[in-house]
């Protein structure tokens, strides 16, 4: 039971869900605006590298965060240029970004720091440390609430709170503002947006800026919060799990949060189950637990648990009628 529902597992669920949540929300803005983004992984990796490198050189986590966001937005703009302006294949462009970043980050890391592609170990102010929410001492003695507030909700890095705050904000932007309405229209029927006299390209570029911003935060969290520095392949498929979470959530912000929590939970449990022997079932093969998010997503895509319908115009370059 401790392995499945202990405070320890739930805390690490929150931590492991955070990058997934941020990246999935990034994908949400992009895909809702009609741009498919396979490059979440690459953007996160690039951001993690920029965060690790800048934080270590400047000695400040905040500069690391800033660098991560800048790099991620630049990569997002490259994706935008390829898929909006040059009307190229969006999937091909995303795949390309993943590879370019995976290669260049290690090369630059090796050249600058000579640690085989890693960035130096970060310490103290170079990392984004855990913060305590106000009033944990007061509440910690109350049963359940104390456990929930002091044990679970408090004591995470600031970006964790940013990620979970981004959920209601995203919902509000998408469904309660003019910008959000237009953004969703770009993904469903860009011709209608164009007819209304609103620029499709400009709208999609703006969506990609937000996508880059969120991916940047996700990458920074990996390098500055979850670990202390950048290591090779540190995203390890998280961008694709985020993509899976986005589909699993049927492109809806609040569902995205639950999907990210579910996949984060599976990861947390998977780590703890390694090598443990259980009564009756015996040893649970960890490889199978790690594959579960992907299996669940395929099952969902197959339409066996509800149907996942992507935004109608996503993946199609918009060509103005003449």
């Amino acid at each position: 039971m401790e392995v499945l529902f202990g405070l320890d597992v739930l805390n690490s669920t929150i931590r492991l869900s955070t990058p997934l949540l941020l990246a999935a929300l990034a994908g949400l803005y992009s895909e809702r605006a009609g741009i498919v983004d396979i490059g979440l992984e690459g953007k996160m990796l690039g951001a993690a590298f920029a965060a690790g490198a800048a934080a270590s050189v400047a000695g400040s986590a905040w500069i690391g965060l800033f660098a991560a966001v800048v790099i991620s937005i630049l990569l997002s703009m490259l994706h935008g240029f390829a898929s909006i302006t040059a009307r190229g294949n969006q999937i091909v462009s995303g795949v390309a970004i993943n590879f370019v970043v995976a290669g260049v980050a290690i090369l630059l890391g090796q050249t600058w720091f000579g640690l085989g592609g890693k960035t130096p170990q970060l310490r103290g102010a170079e990392r984004l440390l855990e913060i305590d929410l106000p009033g944990i001492e007061l509440l910690s003695d109350i049963p359940l609430i104390g456990w929930l507030y002091s044990g679970l909700l408090s004591g995470h890095g600031i970006l964790v709170y940013v990620a979970f705050l981004a959920v209601p904000i995203t919902w509000w932007i998408l469904f309660r503002t003019r910008f959000g309405l237009r953004l969703r229209a770009l993904g469903e029927n860009p011709a209608a947006v164009d007819t209304a006299g609103i620029s499709v390209s400009w709208g999609r570029y703006r969506a990609l800026v937000i996508c880059g911003l969120l991916c940047g935060i996700a990458g920074a969290y990996l390098a500055l919060g979850l670990s202390a520095g950048f290591v090779k392949d540190m995203t390890a498929g998280k961008g694709f799990i985020a993509l899976a979470a986005l589909i699993f959530a049927k492109w809806k912000p609040v569902n995205v949060m639950f999907a990210a929590l579910l996949f984060g939970y599976l990861e947390a449990v998977g780590i703890r189950m390694q090598g443990k022997i259980f009564p009756v079932i015996g040893e649970v093969p960890v490889a199978m637990i790690q594959a579960l998010p992907y299996v669940l997503t395929v099952v969902l895509l197959a339409g066996f648990i509800g149907k996942a319908i992507p935004p109608k115009a996503s993946g199609i370059p918009y060509v103005k009628e003449r």
């Binding site: 498919v36 390829a82 040059a86 995976a102 093969p285």
Partner: protein, 373 residues
């Protein structure tokens, strides 16, 4: 003004321009790392083609990329983006292992090898079947399902190696080494014909298998009825249905062929080189296939050329990392990404200016013709 390029410009000039730009950017990365790009290029080409063993290694890597490039290209022709070649190759290795591990004590290699070919193709095809069927029947996007299937495949491989195939008492997650009959003969004789030798390079018979497959893919796509249906479905699905081409059948069979080709890639490293399955034996070849197919314009001949180019990058890159420690194998991954970017996503970047250039020339010649008349 014509809005089209002459065929030779479309198939040769434009890809060459894209490739050149990709390599110029790669050269800039080399400079950023603090090395001389021309010197790096020289070492790379010398390492890949300068001696017998180098050439053999280049051809060995190219074999992998021909298989995966063909796999991606066949799907491309049907309008499908199969990112799953990597996973299909991983599962294909299980088919190879099935043949090699059960029969290598009982039969000579010339029986085991054909059975392993069938095994790898069947397993690879089976792994492509579910995404294909979901795409055709349920409309689940094949890009997403094949990405998911890549991860599931590598999990299955970890499980299979650690729990099932690992010999008792061994720590490393790999199968036992295949006997002589479970290995594909090397091509020493081919190199001795030219007075050279393999110098330990694992180039083997599957290179010829790859070439045969390239020819068969050409026949399939441009010389058969099914190939016509496949291309029609790829260019205009609605028209294809209207013409009576069954979409579900076409998509599923195309993906089975694509998956089978990817699965056969496993033969080369597993039976031809290591003589056992190791974790990560694919070394990303499935993804290189995307770059190769894009660069080769999905034509088997182009794919062979592109595969040799990437074989050169892999082999020459390995030598380069000895001479220039700052340039590791990761440079090849970056170049691969740049090629995908410029030959794939930005393939039309230079098209408008090229069209303008060509139409200006043709207009000039039209004018001179008119004046002469």
């Amino acid at each position: 003004m014509k809005n089209e390029l002459p065929k030779w410009a479309d198939y040769i000039l434009l890809p060459l321009i894209n490739l050149t730009v990709a390599f110029i950017v790669a050269g800039m990365v080399v400079m950023l790392v603090g090395e001389n790009p021309f010197e790096a290029a020289y070492i790379l080409v010398r390492g890949a083609f300068g001696y017998g063993g180098g050439i053999a290694y280049t051809m060995y890597y190219a074999t992998n990329f021909i298989f995966t490039g063909l796999s991606v290209a066949v799907a491309f022709h049907c309008g499908l983006f199969n990112i799953g070649s990597e996973g299909q190759a991983i599962i294909g290795a299980l088919g190879v292992a099935l043949a090699a591990l059960t029969l290598d004590n009982l039969m000579p290699w010339w029986i085991v090898f054909p059975l392993a070919i069938i095994g790898s193709a069947l397993f690879g095809a089976a792994w492509a079947f579910i995404p294909a069927w979901l795409q055709a029947k349920r409309g689940s996007h094949i890009v997403i399902t094949t990405i998911m299937f890549n991860f599931i495949a590598s999990s299955i491989m970890v499980y299979a190696l650690v729990e099932l195939l690992k010999p008792a008492g061994s720590m490393a997650p790999q199968t036992r080494t295949f006997e002589q009959a479970g290995q594909i003969p090397k091509l020493d004789w081919l190199f001795e014909l030219f007075g050279s030798s393999l110098q330990g390079a694992p180039l083997n018979l599957s290179f010829f298998l790859a070439l045969i497959m390239a020819f068969l893919v050409w026949v399939l796509i441009w010389r058969t009825r099914f190939g016509y249906e496949l291309r029609t479905t790829g260019t205009n699905p609605t028209a294809a249905v209207y013409a009576g081409i069954p979409p579900v059948k076409t998509i599923v069979i195309t993906m089975l062929i694509s998956g089978g080709l990817a699965g056969m890639m496993a033969l080369n490293p597993v039976m031809g080189d290591q003589a056992r399955i190791e974790l990560d034996f694919t070394a990303g070849a499935g993804f290189v296939g995307i770059a190769v197919a894009l660069m080769g314009r999905s034509h088997p001949l182009g794919i062979i050329l592109a595969a040799i180019l990437f074989g050169m990058l892999y082999q020459g890159g390995a030598e380069l990392s000895f001479d220039m420690p700052n340039i590791s194998r990761d440079m090849i991954i970056a170049i691969q990404g740049l090629v995908i970017l410029f030959a794939g996503a930005l393939e039309n970047l230079f098209r408008p200016s090229l069209i303008r250039l060509f139409s200006r020339f043709s207009r000039d010649s039209d004018n001179t013709l008119a004046e002469a008349a």
